[in-house]
Symmetry: C2
Subunit: 327 residues, 2 copies
Amino acid sequence: MKLSEIGELSLLERIRSRFAASAKDVMAGIGDDSAVVIPRDQPLLLTTDMMTEGVHFDLGLTTCYQIGFKLISVNVSDIYAMGGVPRFVLLDLAADRKTEEQCIESFFDGVQRAMSIYLVRLIGGDLSSSKAGLAVSATVMGYAKKPVMRSGARPGDRIYVTGTLGDSACGLELLKRIRRPLFIETGDRTDSPMGWRTMQPLLRRHLLPEARRPGRVAKVATAMIDVSDGLLIDLSRLCDESGVGARIYMRHLPLSSQMRKAASALGIEPYALATSGGEDYELLFTAPRGRKVDAVVIGEITESERIFVDRNGTERPFSPEGYQHWH
Amino acid sequence: MKLSEIGELSLLERIRSRFAASAKDVMAGIGDDSAVVIPRDQPLLLTTDMMTEGVHFDLGLTTCYQIGFKLISVNVSDIYAMGGVPRFVLLDLAADRKTEEQCIESFFDGVQRAMSIYLVRLIGGDLSSSKAGLAVSATVMGYAKKPVMRSGARPGDRIYVTGTLGDSACGLELLKRIRRPLFIETGDRTDSPMGWRTMQPLLRRHLLPEARRPGRVAKVATAMIDVSDGLLIDLSRLCDESGVGARIYMRHLPLSSQMRKAASALGIEPYALATSGGEDYELLFTAPRGRKVDAVVIGEITESERIFVDRNGTERPFSPEGYQHWH
């Protein structure tokens, strides 16, 4: 059934009953002009991200479930990148009349699954029509006793990353060759163009990314950002805000064995994926030298120089490389 | 210049410096992964609304300034409808490569003008590309010591509205006949299809709506909603949440003299605009009988019957009539 046959009020009713569960800190959720919550006595974090069809996702390559799951993950990742704990979500969804109800239901299945992982609650949103195509956005609110900004890095600090880089970008390259939506959330698989054991984790990183919980990192980090647009562009942002430089070492960048294998089979330079590929949602942070940190050190903060040291020890300046809209 | 010639980073930089002013309750605004604010020790209100090209606005009839202004107003209206005070805004904007930079600048001019009226601050957002067309959404956060829900209306309560109804819908009808964007924000005017003195306030209500501050109403109201989709649909929502009915009187509905005049010239029934026209952003609320209230009484809450009493005293049931997406 298409949305034009269902209508706004009945869809809203369905969403409302699905997300109706009560909570102590929610005075009013979906169904009033605004949501009402009782805030903790802590600094409050707010972030928002939008995803549009044909730019952030292609319905020829992605399921509606994956869009919903990813929308929550990318927003939660911004809360984690402040060392915070996410708590509430608001959603905006615009879809055209021809959209299948099944897609909207699957979208909310993905949203709900992600919410259960991050322990966040949906408290409000807006459903509306669009002329053509799907556009979704989420706002996530959270808390952090001591927020970690991008601006706190100091020369001498070590630079860390919480996991492997380039996996998501490699997963996207695989997906472009598979050329169909892969319902991995329900066990769907494929062995082309290489073995599933190699492909599965990479595709998963791209299609169903999970935001990285900061844990103890939040206590030691002097500055932090999530890797959403690519290592070099996101590191440049951290450096800009801190007014510092950075030196990073190619040989220290963590690459997964699956990514190396897949990149080689695809004829792509794995370090290009690791430095400029987006959507890994690992945390990139700095901490004073000598602190015990459960993450991979990839370099150190400098006064102002921004240097990439390649495998042979050759130094070259780096500049923001990664995804930019409208370019 | 088009966005494709400017790029995301430079546009972001411009927006950031425009909205950079500091505030005591903002620890981090635009430029980090999340905004960080210090909340008041009060219930916190959160609301979001999205507007898409071809559905909520038509760039052949609306200026980019007006879109920005209206986006803030419609969200603030949802905070006012809880008896709240708005404080922070986050914005999402998706535009295609061919969008003129001038449109984006004007959009933010409109946003900024509205922000100065409502005393809210922009603390974050997301810029991204779209395949085609403009999509914008805002999330507004505010406070209310004692939020007024939709659910508090009781039989015997009087029903009030804070201002005239149908003006915005009538303004839209005029605009459809003028068939061009009207830059009223910079003094643009037209005398077709009738005198400017009649048209100006109606067009303004549609193009540059101002949300209605609740003031003392918040103290006496038992239930409240803003009239965004139309009187009958919004009153039905309030009744649904409160589990009550309503009886409203056609002869009590406040209609502006300009709207009566324009509707008559356009051959439209003015009461159809007043009952089913959306986007007036007046507050519709209930209060116990006998309370002194600075608003127009239009009826009373009943046990369950939903009755519209026409000019001749004839009673007929009413049902939700007004804007529904996808229908």
